[in-house]
Amino acid sequence: MSALSFLTRTRGMRRMDWTDWLSYAYLTLGLFLMFGPVLWLVMSSFKTEGALTEFPPRLLPYGQKQVMVPGEDKPKPLYRVRLPDGSVRELPELRRIGLTATHVDPAQPDVPIRVDIKDREPVRELRFALENYTDLGGKLNFGLYLWNSVFITVVATILTLLFNSMAAFALSKYQFRGRSGVFLLILATLMVPPAIVLVPNFLVVSELGLLNSLWGVIWPAVATPTGVFLLRQYMLTIPDELLEAARMDHAGEWRIYWRIVLPLSAPALAVLAIFSTMWRWNDFLWPLIVLSKSEKFTLQLALNAFQGDLVTQWNYLLAMTVITLLPITLVFAFLQKYIAQGIASAGVK
């Protein structure tokens, strides 16, 4: 089989016809459109502040080359300078006043060379501005925002798993009056979009003293109808005989839930854990209302606040955005199968 026919064969072992070519063209365009913007963000986040203001922008992060000059503490920017005698040399700039810049040859640091700024251009090199990332910790309280986001995501997800599985256990393994009523009631909350109850929820949370507290974001989020539904459907498939056998052995109801039903529901719990992590990590509108003090901001709120600043420091903003999308990208890379499965089975996002 020749290489071409290997490449062009389809799964049905036919040769490619024009509709196949069209499909791959569509998919390639999709790849470009879907990943391109994210890739552009990531590449831009490695540019220096100077390179970011360049227009038209360059694809790769170029920064001005810098060299050490004897007698100076900081490295100096390097320029390609055309000297009066017509020769061109690469010299670092010491200082610049108006249209005249003072350059120097590092080999002879005592001989200043005055140059008209028309006669020089910066020397560029491919340089990844890692300082965009390393500076975040100190300058922008980044660690605090990260901690707030992680705290909300982890605690809310654990509580979601616990509470929702308890409710699902009751709804799938007990016969009691009002069971279907309760189930319907829980499902009905699916239809109450958070935007509708914004104002009263604000009142409830402030009455509970949870304004500007991370718990004000966590508590309203931990009872999810989706989670109860997903887990209940799964627990229905666990045979009741297992529970009966455990009761024969005088196991308590909590023990049955904790030691038998919960471990057996691990696949469904995993799906819910992934969803809950994404929901809480990405939450915006509700935290925006509850958390107004900047030391309580989550990453999403901090990003929003910085981009709204009069002077947006794009180099830091971009780096922070990349870090914010990193965990989600990892979840996507490794757990995509489970997410697709969850959406297919419950029709939720």
């Binding site: 879907m34 038209p56 922008p57 104002v199 009263p200 409830v204 309203p220 009966e244 209302i289 929003n304």
Partner: protein, 305 residues
């Protein structure tokens, strides 16, 4: 063996308490807010005003012309939302359907390609908005490309028409993968023998699509349509970060009106915000009823297969 009757309720307890406090109670309070006035947050301090809030919102010379309304910004938001939902939903369903059809073909690396379209769905709205803001800003990548081909740079987010267009584009970009996945599941549930039969009858691919695929996919399409509409009506996050509702009020939508009225303005008119959300809820109830009917059609369709 008889269990204690209260055991299941103990297990249900935490969930029900949270639903009660943060969902059902707020629904009731929301009604109260909508019919009381003033700027106080605590219900006991708020004077009863009856239908005044609703009347303020609905006071309009001509509903099609927001400038003739007392709360012109609300009606601008309403019409923006309607226009947005119309374009966004129809384009989204169209692209999701096309993508699902392509992904359903015999292609190499289907899992990979499916992932490509699904990835943006997972990103947070703030991140989505920032990614595009960075591209669309005055000295961004897109204007760089414009200059490279000899065109003039455009203020993509500064001109009302363009801002609205990009808001639609970005929201489709971010959510299309979700609907593609649902439609793909629907396509894969269509029995293969139907296609074999169509092939036997020498039906053209186009005819097969129109006579076999689309009719059988119709229930899923309906569900996707209504689901997308319910979401579109509630659009807020990514637009708020991308354009802030501007320029002017070109991309201000209903949820942003509620947020601004209740939380962003100096004078916080909770009653007006609640009345606005009541009207939004009304629209959503209508859409949800349509969805329930569509789902029933979906189930019926499954039985018919």
């Amino acid at each position: 063996m008889r269990q204690a009757a209260r055991t299941p309720w103990l297990f249900l307890g935490p969930n029900l308490v949270i639903f009660g406090v943060f969902t059902f109670l707020p629904i009731v309070i929301n009604l109260y807010y909508a019919f009381t006035g003033g700027v106080q947050l605590y219900p006991r301090d708020r004077p009863f005003v009856g239908f005044e809030n609703l009347a303020t919102l609905l006071d309009c010379g001509n509903y099609l012309d927001p400038s003739s309304c007392r709360k012109d910004i609300f009606w601008r938001a309403v019409w923006n939302t309607a226009r947005f939902a119309l374009f966004q939903v129809s384009l989204m369903v169209l692209f999701a359907l096309t993508t699902a059809l392509v992904l359903n073909r015999k292609i190499i690396g289907r899992g990979f390609w499916r992932g490509v379209f699904f990835y943006p769905v997972l990103l947070s709205p703030v991140v989505v908005a920032l990614i595009w803001k960075w591209i669309l800003q005055r000295e961004g990548l897109l204007n760089g490309a414009m200059v490279a081909v000899g065109a003039d740079p455009v203020l993509w987010l500064g001109e009302p028409g363009w801002a609205f267009t990009w808001v639609i584009f970005v929201s489709i970009w971010a959510h299309m993968g979700f609907y593609t996945l649902i439609l793909l599941a629907g396509l894969q549930a269509i029995p293969a023998d139907l296609y074999e039969a169509a092939q036997m009858d020498r039906a053209s691919p186009w005819r097969t699509l129109r006579r076999v695929t689309l009719p059988l996919l119709l229930p899923n399409l309906l569900v996707v349509l209504v689901l997308a509409a319910i979401r579109a009506v509630q659009i807020f996050d990514e637009v708020f970060v991308l354009t802030g509702g501007g320029p002017g009020s070109a991309t201000t939508f209903v949820v942003q009106f509620i947020y601004q009225t209740g939380f962003q303005e100096q004078v916080r008119l909770y009653g007006l915000a609640a009345a606005g959300s009541l009207l939004l809820a009304l629209a959503l109830i209508v859409l949800t009823l349509i969805q329930l009917r569509a789902t029933r059609a979906d189930k019926a369709g499954e039985r018919a297969r």
